[in-house]
C-alpha cells in the first residue's frame, strides 16, 4: 500500500502550547550543551551531541492518548529512518566543510538529509500495509 504524505492542519492544531515551548527549551538547551561539551571535552564527544534526540515530546504525549502507542511507534519508525539520513547530512558536512562556504555546505547537506529520508521512507514505511491498533 503506497501512502502519500499530506499536510494536516488538524495534527498541527492538536499540538499544545506547552509542547511548542518544551521543544524550544529542549532544542536550545541541547545546542548550548553541545557547545559546552565541545569546549570542555573536545570536538569528538561534543560532536556526537549534534545528533542528540531533541524533538522528543511528540512520542511522549502521543503515548498517553487512546490508540497513541501505535501512532508513537509509527512516529519512532520514521525517526529511525531520519537517523540514517542524519548520517548522510553529517557525511556531507565533513566532506565539504573545508572546501565550500558554510551556507552552501549546510544547504547541500540538508537537501541530502531530506532526499535520503524521503527515499528510504518511500521504499519502506510508505509501502507498509495498514496495521490494526
Amino acid at each position: 500500500v503506497d501512502v502519500t504524505p499530506r499536510i494536516s492542519t488538524r495534527n498541527l492544531r492538536s499540538v499544545a502550547r506547552w509542547e511548542h515551548a518544551a521543544r524550544f527549551v529542549i532544542g536550545g538547551g541541547v545546542t548550548v550543551l553541545a557547545g559546552l561539551i565541545i569546549e570542555r571535552f573536545g570536538v569528538a564527544f561534543g560532536g556526537m551531541f549534534l545528533a542528540f534526540p531533541a524533538i522528543l515530546p511528540a512520542s511522549l504525549t502521543l503515548m498517553k492518548r487512546q490508540d497513541g502507542r501505535r501512532m508513537a511507534a509509527d512516529d519512532a519508525r520514521g525517526n529511525r529512518i531520519g537517523a540514517i539520513a542524519l548520517a548522510g547530512f553529517a557525511a556531507m558536512v565533513t566532506t565539504t566543510a573545508k572546501i565550500w562556504p558554510l551556507p552552501a555546505t549546510l544547504a547541500v547537506a540538508s537537501v541530502t538529509w531530506l532526499a535520503i529520508a524521503y527515499a528510504l521512507w518511500s521504499f519502506t514505511l510508505a509501502r507498509r500495509p495498514p496495521r490494526r491498533p
Binding site: G27, G35, V43, M48, P53, I55, A58, L60, D75, A83
Partner: protein
C-alpha cells in the same frame, strides 16, 4: 561567552521548534517522525562552530556526528520496541535517552584513537 550561549540557545531552540512544527503538520505519523531526526541542533551548532573555530573543527564535529547518528538510530529502534509494550511513557523516554548515551559513549571509547579530530 554569555552572548555565545544566548545565541546558541535561541538559534537551536528556534530551529528545533521549526522542525517540530513541520513534523506536526504532516500525515501519516511515520512521515512526520522523519522530522524528529532533522538536523536542527546540528545546523545551529555547526554554524556557530564554523564562525568561532573554523572549517577544520566544523568538519571534525560533523565526523563525530556520524557516530551520534548511529546512537540516534539505537534510540529510535529502542523507542519503536518500547512503544509496543505497556511501559509508561516517561520510562520509555528515559530508557531510549539512556540507550542513546550508552551507544554514544561506547562509540566514543572505541573510536577516539582511530578517528581524526
Amino acid at each position: 561567552m554569555l552572548g555565545d550561549v544566548v545565541l546558541r540557545f535561541v538559534l537551536g531552540g528556534t530551529l528545533v521548534s521549526v522542525f517540530g512544527v513541520i513534523a506536526a503538520a504532516f500525515k501519516p505519523r511515520s512521515f512526520s517522525g522523519l522530522f524528529a531526526a532533522a538536523p536542527a541542533v546540528a545546523i545551529a551548532s555547526l554554524a556557530i562552530t564554523y564562525s568561532t573555530d573554523g572549517a577544520a573543527t566544523t568538519a571534525a564535529a560533523a565526523r563525530w556526528m556520524l557516530a551520534g547518528a548511529l546512537a540516534l538510530f539505537g534510540y529510535s529502534a529502542c523507542s519503536v520496541a518500547l512503544c509496543q509494550t505497556r511501559v509508561p511513557a516517561w520510562l520509555a523516554a528515559t530508557t531510549a535517552w539512556l540507550v542513546w548515551l550508552a551507544v554514544a559513549v561506547m562509540l566514543w571509547f572505541s573510536l577516539r584513537h582511530v578517528v581524526r579530530t
